[in-house]
Amino acid sequence: MKASVIVFPGSNCDRDVAVCLEAATGAKPTMVWHGDADVPASDLIVLPGGFSYGDYLRSGAMAAHSPVMRDVVAKARKGITILGICNGFQVLTESGLLPGVLMRNASLKFICRDVTLKVERNDTVFAGQYGEGDIITIPVAHHDGNYFTDRDTLERLEGENRVAFRYCDATGALDETANPNGSLHNIAGIYDETGRVLGLMPHPERLADAALGGTDGKHMFTSLVEALH
């Protein structure tokens, strides 16, 4: 699997995800500067976490208009696999590759902690190594992770089975207390129509190493390697 990581000014999880990609593939991913016109031929393009352009204007809004994103969007339309984590998810919604918006957390505060997620489906390139309905632990770290969209879109997302992960408690219950940011339907991540574009607020790259306290995030990267070779 050949992976590229887009680096925006203000990205700060680019190295973290590169470490995980290298561990999973055995090769360093290509780091692509936001000002470049093209992304080199890749099986996977990652939009990493961070504060692209300082999150000024709106999280992800300016990054969505950076030069490299034209090619990212074009490649997504051709079926290249795209993973947006945290700020990367925000960039994906701002650039129209995924529907909805990430609003300020309901608590109005930045939240950094481990959360439990329910794996809604495992028939995608991202989740093959998880079981459907698995409950996994992965951290969140964001100020703007409150997923919102209009009712029709929400119905379509649910109807098309496009919710990737939901915030749940340790038993899998999807109640309010397990929802860290006020997201509609406890949504933590969604797919596009093809299932090849995933945006999620939690950071799988942060729990992909036993020394850091867990490895549930690792399986996303090994799933990708398995699916994309």
Partner: protein, 735 residues
């Protein structure tokens, strides 16, 4: 001289610049003439307490600063210790007290930004932020607002830059009602053979300005930080700088990218007193002069005067001296990161700082005199008379140990700080192997199996009663916290927060704390490598409690051999290592349960401290203990409760046969103690401890869902957790 020089300098103007008549005479002697307004401004900031350490230098010199592990001691932007294998840890702690009280969000945010610049200016990538925060009493009208703003500011800056905030401490005390303390610490990781310093050696080299543009913010911030507050302090808001963490992030990446090329001769961040102190310090250390052309300085606003540009404390700016011919290469990197880059002068052999603006010379002053001849005061001081030791029997007992524990764990002093650290990104960079909430945080040295441990501590209650013992205890407690995770403590940074040094009793507190700190540092081979002094923390004549905040850094050779406070398994034996003397003087028990602060603080036996700590570290390295916690505020029962909560495993405490009252055993704050949980080796470890001359006692067994104190009803962990986790969020919700 420029046009401003024609304005007469009245004695009021001189006084407004914080210079005494005597200091002004000295200035006249150095220049041999009247200064221009710009020169007066430059002298005033260079000679401010904040920049010159004029009241504290004489005492700071007595601290030990050397050791085989020390690469760089005090005097540079930050201290540096050797981590082996070519790795070095670069670290420092700095106060941002005055601005944070006036404007908590920006004050705290720029404190974080400033300390990170001190670290990456030396060639290190910042890898961990910590902070020591002290607020007024919870019922004080301003406290909530300040807590909320400071925590949001620290998070807002550090989270965006992408450096994990991994540890620190939070205190509430009425003594800080009028002056809160925001002490920010940063630890960076560098290659030991690629360290960058600030000495601008060589003549004719380009002086380069990079980063953000210069605005009118923060003018005279250093002078504000060297004055007391009164009721009108809020009017000083315009002197608080505004931070831009996004630019800081770009500046880190650009500087580190440039540092990988061999083109930088000297580099220094523009912190307090901005362009003035950075250029003076660089020129002085390099033994050169600087010609600065202010017309080339990138400005945010139009029509800025030389005075304003030289004194601005706009954030996220650096000054560099480059090797000639490398300007283009350097500029390309900064342009890529969309930062300003301007050649603003050159180094000269004149030994003078010559500042020109709009074709006029605005300042022309000898560098050496500016840097070195700041006044140095040995201010009169009166030592604090420590109170007598309290006998444990003289301290009233509670109705029940369990009830007292519940009250204390739910108090502002001991309650969980989760509400604070969940607002900080403590995991970014993917190397946080010990998260906040333990004795010390640990970040892995990226790409290796080594870890850097860091902790912040001081107990102002103790320092108030007895500055010498308090200073000792602060150093010893960081050493203990590093030891408790399995680290070899290497060195400290200190942030000395005190009142008005012109008052002999305050100077006495300062001298006492330094004496105690020095003693502990020497006994533990734990030198001071960097630090900062914040004086004049007073409002309307009321000083803060003496607060020498200590930041300790240690090395874990193998993160596979670490401990933390969480109990790991049922059926383990809990051992207490260290003495049981029942010291309740200045204890949290007296403070919370009796609302009294009396008696001498617990003395620190430094030889025992070292013996006990070395033994505990040995056990951790052998892998025979995994759960370790030092006994600090609140004493033994509180330490056990914290271990039980962290591991979600109950404990049945064993009865003890001590002749001391039960509450003195439970809540006494004797020093140099650890609780360890042991599986099968309890007897063996007890024997080894006894052989090493370390008091040891079986204090209980792990298991179940309760904390059980002998002869008292069991306390369910769930209840205790609710009490412990509840106070802070509940308090902040009432905003």
């Amino acid at each position: 001289m420029g046009s401003q020089a024609t304005a007469p300098l009245t004695s009021e103007l001189v006084a407004e610049h914080g210079l005494t008549g005597e200091e002004y005479e000295r200035l006249l002697g150095i220049l041999g003439r009247e200064p221009s307004l710009t020169e007066l401004g430059i002298f005033s900031v260079m000679w401010s307490e904040h920049c010159s350490y004029k009241s504290s230098k004489v005492w700071l010199k007595t601290l030990p600063t050397e050791g085989p592990q020390v690469i760089q001691g005090p005097g540079e932007n930050a201290g540096i210790v050797d981590l082996g294998d070519g790795h070095a840890a670069v670290f420092k702690m700095e106060s941002h007290n005055h601005p944070s009280f006036i404007e908590p969000y920006q004050g705290a945010a720029t404190g974080v930004g400033g300390i990170m610049r001190d670290v990456f200016t030396m060639g290190a990538r910042p890898v961990a932020n910590l902070n020591a925060l002290r607020f007024g009493a919870p019922d004080h009208a301003k406290t909530r607002h300040l807590v909320s703003g400071v925590v949001a500011g620290i998070g807002g800056y550090g989270n965006c830059v992408g450096v994990p905030t991994v540890g620190g401490e939070v205190n509430f005390d009425a003594g800080f009602n009028g002056n809160i303390l925001v002490n920010a610490m940063c630890v960076g990781l560098a290659h030991a053979d690629r360290i960058f310093y600030s000495a601008a050696k060589g003549v004719g080299h380009p002086v380069v300005y990079v980063g953000s543009k210069t605005g009118r913010d923060g003018i005279h911030g250093a002078t504000m930080a060297s004055a007391e507050f009164d009721d009108n302090s809020d009017e000083k808001r315009p002197t608080v700088q505004v931070g831009d963490p996004f630019t800081e992030k770009l500046l880190i990446e650009a500087c580190l990218e440039l540092m990988a090329e061999d083109v930088i001769i000297a580099i220094q961040d523009m912190g307090a007193a901005g362009l003035t102190s950075s250029s003076v310090e660089m020129a002085d250390k390099g033994g050169v002069g600087f010609d600065l052309d202010l017309d080339a300085v990138p400005c945010r606003e139009e029509g800025m005067s030389a005075y304003e540009m030289m004194l601005s404390e706009s954030q996220e700016r650096m000054l560099m001296v480059l090797k000639p011919g490398s300007e283009e290469k350097a500029e390309k990197i900064f342009r890529k990161w969309e930062l300003d880059f301007a050649i603003v002068g050159k180094t000269t052999d004149s030994g003078r700082l010559v500042v020109s603006h709009n074709g006029e010379i605005e300042a022309d002053m000898p560098v050496k005199a500016l840097a070195d001849s700041a006044p140095e005061y040995k201010r009169p001081w009166t030592p604090t008379t420590p109170p007598e030791l309290l006998a444990p029997e003289d301290v009233p007992a509670p109705n029940s140990i369990t009830e007292a524990l519940e009250t204390m764990m739910a108090s502002p002093h001991l309650c969980s700080r989760r509400w604070v650290w969940e607002q900080y990104d403590h995991m970014v960079m993917g190397d946080t192997v010990r998260r906040p909430g333990g004795d010390a945080a640990v970040v892995r040295v990226h790409g290796s199996k080594k870890g850097i441990a860091a902790a912040c501590d001081v107990t102002p209650r103790y320092c108030t009663a007895d500055p010498v013992e308090g200073g000792k205890q602060a150093v010893a407690e960081t050493w203990r916290n590093l030891t408790a995770v399995g680290a070899d403590p290497l060195a400290i940074t200190d942030c000395m927060n005190f009142g008005n040094p012109e008052r002999p009793e305050i100077m006495g507190q300062f001298a006492g704390c330094i004496e105690g700190m020095g003693e502990a540092c020497r006994a533990l081979d734990y030198p001071v490598v960097s630090g900062n002094v914040s004086l004049y923390n007073e409002t309307n004549g009321a000083a803060i409690p003496p607060t020498p905040a200590i930041g300790g850094v240690g090395l874990i050779p193998d993160i596979g051999k670490m401990a933390n406070l969480a109990l790991r398994a049922e059926g383990e034996t809990l051992l207490l290592l260290g003495p049981e003397l029942g010291h309740l003087g200045q204890s949290l028990y007296m403070d919370v349960m009796l609302e009294r602060r009396e008696g001498a603080p617990p003395p620190v036996d430094l030889a025992a401290e070292r013996r006990h700590g070395d033994f505990v570290r040995e056990l951790i390295r052998e892998g025979v203990v995994l759960a370790v916690h030092d006994v600090a505020d609140g004493g033994l029962v509180v330490a056990v409760a914290e271990m039980a909560l962290a591991g979600d495993i109950g404990v049945a405490l064993a009865p003890n046969e001590s002749p001391l009252p039960a509450h003195a055993i439970a809540f006494g704050e004797d020093q140099g103690r650890y609780v360890v949980a042991v599986g099968d080796h309890a007897g063996d470890i007890q024997a080894r401890a006894q052989q090493a001359g370390i008091p040891v006692r079986v204090i209980g067994t792990t298991g179940g869902r309760d904390l059980v104190i002998p002869d008292e009803p069991p306390l369910p962990l769930a209840t205790l957790r609710q009490l412990h986790e509840g106070w802070l969020p509940h308090y902040m919700q009432a905003m």
